[in-house]
């Protein structure tokens, strides 16, 4: 379970202080597919960065299964990022000089998994997201946007994370490809029993999730629960 309490993140921008996250409280039970929606600049990315420990909050707490990640040290944070979280970014963010396979193997290396296991797991994941044997050995530069995002999803799932955090994962893709990618994310997370938190502008996508949080000016202004209906 993920429990966020009075989370705040301020940015100093020149003379003005921006309250990107301004007192968010939310609870996400395990195995849920959750969407975060809101206007541009409302604080969605800032919130996701805090949840994934890519950024430190100004105040508040983020409890993951009872542990407050805002109080973790550097080594614990690395472990948390590698093991508990899988990130899917809008702009794919694959390492350009590594092949698709090597990109997927990378997070497993951080946990010290043996090479044989890494290769096997990476190959399986890449096949599952729909890459063939030739594509697996290609570098991101020669793959299409949709293929790159598939590799990114495989990489996010590599270490069997508890949470997938995806910031507008379909934002750079045409709507048809976006839909496929979203379905892939959905299907795989069901299979891997992963909790997914996805930031999206696409209300059609948000409508398919169990729960939606609408954010405005760094606060949750509305939450819609569809799991009961």
């Amino acid at each position: 379970m993920l429990k966020v309490t009075d989370l705040k993140r301020q940015f100093q921008s020149g003379d003005t202080i921006v309250n990107a996250v301004n007192g968010i409280d939310l609870t996400i039970p395990d195995g849920q597919f959750v969407s975060i929606i809101g206007q541009s600049g409302s604080g969605k990315t800032s919130l996701l960065s805090l949840l994934g420990a890519l950024d430190k909050p100004s105040s508040g707490s983020i409890e993951v299964d009872g542990r407050d990640i805002t109080k973790m040290n550097g080594g614990e944070l690395n472990q948390y990022r590698a093991k508990t979280i899988g990130f899917v970014f809008q702009s794919y963010n694959l390492v350009p000089n590594l092949t698709a396979l090597e990109n997927v193997m990378l997070p497993m290396e951080f946990l010290g998994k043996p090479k044989r296991d890494r290769i096997e797991r990476a190959k399986n994941l890449l096949h599952e997201v729909g890459l063939n044997d030739g594509e697996v050995l290609r570098k991101p530069g020669s793959l299409s946007g949709g293929q790159q995002q598939r590799v990114a999803i495989a990489r996010a799932l590599a270490n069997h994370p508890k949470y997938i955090l995806a910031d507008e994962p379909t934002g750079n893709l045409d709507s048809q490809t976006g839909k496929k990618i979203f379905n892939l994310l959905h299907d795989l997370s069901l299979k891997e029993k992963t909790t997914i938190i996805v930031v999206t502008h696409d209300l059609a996508i948000a409508g398919k999730t169990n729960k939606s949080f609408r954010i405005k000016d760094g606060r949750v202004v509305n939450s819609t629960d569809r799991s009961k209906t």
Partner: protein, 459 residues
Amino acid sequence: MNWFSRGIRSAFRNATRTFALVIILGLSISLALSMLIAHQAVTQKINNVKSSVDNTISIYPAGLRGFTGGGNPLTSAQLLEVSKTTDVTSVAETLSDRMTSSETNLQSPISAGVLGRRFARKVGGLGGVFGNYGGQSFTLPVIVNGTNDPTNLSAFSHTGGGGTFTLQSGTVFNSNSNANVALLGSSIASKNNLKVGSTFTAYSTTITVAGIFSTGNRFGDSQVIMPLQTVQRLTGQTNQITSAVAYVNSVSNVATVTAAIKKELGSAADVTNSIAQAQSIVSALQNIQTISLYSLIGAVIVGAIIILMTMIMIVRERRREIGVIKAIGSSNIRIVGQFMAEAVTLTLVGAIIGITFGVIASKPITQMLVSSSNSSSSSSSRSSLAGSGSGGNFAAHHFSGGHGIFTRVKHDISSVHAVVNFSIVVDGLVAAIFIALIGSAVAAYFIAKIRPAEVMRVE
């Protein structure tokens, strides 16, 4: 694939840049290496020269230049006083002469050579020795050294060419002999078909060959050594001396004894010791040592700056990639390790190129440093540089340079030899790796500052 092999692979990510970088790095490393080698060679030479400082003092009639120049010969009486000077253990006295074809039936084994003739023409007017110097054929005079210390070639190296006296056959005459005997160098002996017991004519007198010796150099093997008193008698120069070497009981007393002898002989003689000679060489060498040291430091700094700037550039360029790797759970250390592997790879490739260039370039560079410094240093240091080829060498020994000082000391700047040994190469590699690690340590600072949250931004 782990961070290490990723680092090595990253080094060749941008082929053009890697090529340019490795070439520039290689040049700075090769410069550093050749300067290191030059510096070592010169340092070695300085130590050699310093350790060669001996307990001898050279005494020449004032103004004498080999066989040329004016000045009155020294007398036995003057040298008797020298031998009585405190701390002087012995004095080797020499009366040198050149026998022309009218004075002896001996023929010099040395052919004149082009350079020899030119030198002869230059100086011929001074002594008028070479009556026929302009013509196609003239005979070189035979050098005869009358000495009271026949086996001590260094006592008359300025006319005899130095070397080490090795008796091949016969016997050596006594130091105070007055007999009509001679020791012949092996070259002149074979040229004239003479053996121990043979005779030849000199100064209208029949001289018996008492022994035949070799010196290790062609010039020395062409001379005749006779008892001092015999030469004095035959040339009508009784009690006259053209050079002497005083031996002092200890090197530490050489300076004071030199001063005492100078005072004793006054303006009649030029008195020099190997300390002064060594000092002039050492000061010239020290210039080279300084130049090579600064160039070495400069080249190392340039190399370090190049790798430092490159690493900073690479880190800035891969800012996003570093952020991503952090975001998916890598420790800073692992990323820094990858960049260090990359820096070391680049530097090692540069070092291999640099060491190859450096080893090839070190000898000519050392030689260039030495010869440029040489020509700007005192002219006397050129004595043993002048001339090559037998004839030229002959003339050079005789007609240029002051007293052949540097042939006697057996050191001159031009004989600095660059030696490339394996340990220098290893040192160079270690230094290159060290520089690379420092370069990547700075990169590590920038790596640590990159916030993983940055990767959330859409480009």
